[in-house]
Symmetry: C2
């Protein structure tokens, strides 16, 4: 029983003693029947008066936490039982009785494999083909320093002080002009600066859905979006993706049947598959949105990262009727720790989103906004994107070449036209998790695809990321994958009864 009294502390000594004892009793460190030190002895050892200790013990007794027994001193009682809710006893707050359905869904366990995977993704000795982030070794640190210095020289007060909930106007203006160059006709008034696209998911879900509503996503899709939608209590229906993007006919079938509150799509260099929705399908999806009056959330973190040819126009550029809510971000092209993204939407949505943003966290961080503004104003963001584009293109080509060289013919992939990841279909009898188990000891980690299908999907797919590893690491990683894959296939051939049956694409 370690009790201390801090004389510098303004909390009266008897309260300090009472609180520490109370906490130890409630935690179970002092089990029922434990004898507290005699008052005089406790007073001596703490250097306080006996009255102080008596006061502390008395309060604990009044709370039912200890009992004074004649001849035996003060003993720890059994605290909670027998106390009604209005009882005078002290119990720790029972949180599970107080939390909402949202909180309960957050407590739901993640698949165990994800924890093991997270560990593998941090190992420096493995070829890292699993992360969906930009290569931090390519960060334009000198320019970031320079931009920060300029900001804190020229607009220091604004850069750390409160600003408008919708984001600072000059940043919204450069964002609007940058979007206009991509064919999205908008203006600063229709831009809300948010803490990355993730905050966009959260704001839009809260503005457009109630728990129990249905939404439509691609299958597979982005885990950060699926997780948010499911935690908020939505029913998430996945629509298969092929080399031309979401299967819009199937989407129409589901829209007619389930009347979703929105369709979430990453139409350009999709995470995870790397595929891009064709212009024809974009037009078709927009027609569907208009006919059924269903909003589309267009998540566009990768659109600028094309290798050779620019992708088809953004959905938002083709949208004349305000059905597309567009999300952009610097997280995948510059740096994700700045948390600067943007929502572009019709005026009523912008107003509601800015209002909810204000209640959620007042405003986007001023310093981040000024920094990104400086980067955009000087043309540095575009220059950096151009650099990344070339590097990622070269890394993708290295991956493509290594896959051709090291993987058996049964493995298939669609080369993406940009972005940071691609999708690999393994031979049908090979589960991606089994492959990972065999591949990790050979020095490579990648993301098994089955985590990314809302409601489940085939077990023989995986996402390969080429933005973080360099060409050498990619070659080494894919070679290890190939060797592991041949081993697994040999094992399967020897024991055909154990074959994994691929599930339908949900």
């Amino acid at each position: 029983m370690a009790i201390t009294v801090d004389r510098e502390n303004r909390i009266p000594a008897y309260i300090q003693i009472r609180n520490q004892l109370r906490e130890q009793i409630l935690r179970g460190d002092l089990p029922r029947g434990t004898r507290l030190p005699p008052e005089r002895k406790m007073a001596q050892s703490l250097g306080v008066s006996r009255t102080t200790v008596v006061s502390a013990y008395d309060e604990l007794a009044a709370e039912g936490l200890v009992e004074a027994r004649v001849g035996r001193g003060t003993l720890v009682a059994t605290p909670p039982p027998g106390l009604t809710e209005e009882g005078s006893g002290v119990r720790p707050l029972a949180w599970t009785a107080h939390v909402t359905n949202l909180a309960k869904r957050l407590q739901g366990e993640k698949p165990a494999g994800l924890y093991a995977l997270a560990e593998l993704c941090n190992r420096a000795d493995l070829a890292q083909l699993c992360n969906g982030v930009p290569d931090s070794s390519l960060l334009p640190l000198d320019r970031i320093r320079q931009a920060c210095e300029t900001v804190l020289r020229e607009s220091a007060v604004a850069a750390v002080s409160a600003g408008p909930k919708q984001g600072i106007p000059p940043l919204r203006e450069v964002i609007a002009s940058r979007l206009a160059r991509g064919g999205i006709a908008t203006d600063a008034d229709r831009v809300v600066v948010i803490n990355g696209a993730q905050q966009g998911f959260d704001l839009l879900v809260r503005l457009l859905t109630e728990p129990g509503d249905t939404v439509i996503v691609e299958s597979p899709s982005y885990l950060g979006a699926i997780d948010t939608f499911q935690a908020e209590g939505l029913r998430v229906i996945g629509i298969p993706v092929d080399r031309d993007g979401m299967d819009v006919d199937q989407a129409e079938f589901m829209v007619a049947r389930y009347r979703p509150r929105f369709i979430y799509t990453v139409p350009t260099f999709q995470n995870p598959t790397g595929t891009t929705m064709s212009l024809e399908r974009r037009e078709k999806l927009l027609g569907l949105a208009r006919r059924y009056q269903v909003p589309i959330i267009e998540d566009d973190p990768f659109g600028d990262l094309y290798f050779d040819e620019p992708p088809p126009p953004r959905l938002k550029a083709l949208d004349g009727s305000g059905h597309v809510l567009y999300l952009g971000t610097v997280s995948k092209v510059l740096a994700s720790g700045l948390r600067v993204g943007w929502l572009v939407a019709p005026q009523p949505v912008v107003e509601a989103a800015a209002g909810l943003k204000a209640l959620s966290d007042s405003q986007p961080v001023s310093l981040s906004q000024h920094l990104v503004l400086e980067f955009m104003r000087r043309g540095w963001l575009d220059e950096h994107v151009d650099t990344m584009r070339a590097i990622y293109a070269s890394r993708f080509r290295a991956m493509d070449a290594a896959l051709r060289r090291h993987l058996p013919r049964e493995a298939r992939w669609t080369p993406p036209g940009g972005g940071i990841s691609m999708w690999l279909e393994l031979p049908q009898q090979v589960g991606a998790q089994e492959l990972l188990d065999a591949a990790a000891p050979r020095g490579v980690v990648f993301l098994p695809g089955h985590y990314l299908y809302p409601g489940g999907g085939p077990s023989n797919t995986c996402r390969l990321n080429f933005s973080v590893p360099d060409e050498h690491e990619i070659g080494r990683g894919v070679e290890a994958m190939g060797s592991a894959l041949r081993q697994v296939m040999r094992r399967r051939a020897q024991a055909p009864a154990e074959r994994a049956v691929p599930g339908p694409i949900a």
Copy 2:
């Protein structure tokens, strides 16, 4: 009708034309019956082929937006009517049909007076006694620059890259040790870094309440909290505040009757009243929380800003049973645009809050966290707080002296022991809004108190802020208030029938 075709744009010309026309028709810029230019003429003026224009017009006709009439050319049709939801027509998304109850509550109009007030609060010619923020002219800009430079020299990659959802561990550690000095025994694991206390309100409301639930706050209380609680659909019950803080007996009555999901309090140098809850009431409030198993949200933005004597221990320091969820922030002591605050709570709440934080916006901004870490590590935050403390104390004394000198005896106030604002009770017959109307032309603006009572309150109170104006501005402002007040009282004395009847404190 301004139509342009951008040849650099990858969107086919016919789609560009169709979309611009569609938007103008849906916006009502081209009313029903408007004749579109003949195809050949339109093609010439845009420098495109006639086929291109024909395709655009055809698609608009298929959508029901235009009609081709023999001999009259192509006319704008009346778009929406007659179309079923599955119809082929194009209508702008009708947002009101799609938004949630939360979104509808956000659309609720603010009291008109608040807009007028916001305008007054931006006028440089008025003595500004109305803002609840730190004085930006006292920002430690050189140290902010120096800290930023150090961060971007020593940990540039981490400062802009992704970090943990709960906040970076070294920042959580310095926050925990700083709290420990104030008697709050905690550790880094029980700290969640959030985007200011405002994000704490949002996360906790979502974890602890469902719409329709009841919560208890002080009356008057902080507008940012009241607004959030009401927008999230909560029933907000206000408990009166006197010079010793919240009336805990009345709180107990309301807790027993309404079983609130939490009690929200700013116990130390409360916003708006500046009063501080006594130690006795703190203990009593904690007892109440334990007996009824109701969590307390302790919002503590001002606790360090005492003038002479430190305030009583924080509720969290007295809490041995995990009933207190503590919110701290640098917004009122350093800079609010950095958006760095912290939640300290029992482990299950920390886990849920960090999980919800991850879904809401991934993580706190890395750069802000590193900057605040550097400030705390070097002891600069404490030094700055000491400086502010002395300045605000001097400004408060100037305000107190000016009030004694310029206000009639009927006005009353309780001198706060710290913080940035104080509460003024006007003579009963004087409404604060009427006083403001008379005072603004004399050169001063303050916040009428009636906005700050959830569910309404007396009209003869106002909040006076002394953190932004210097001693001279304070003197000038209070003198103007006094002169306006005497004018209003004379007016009232002449027309007693118009007396404002003060309402009960709800």
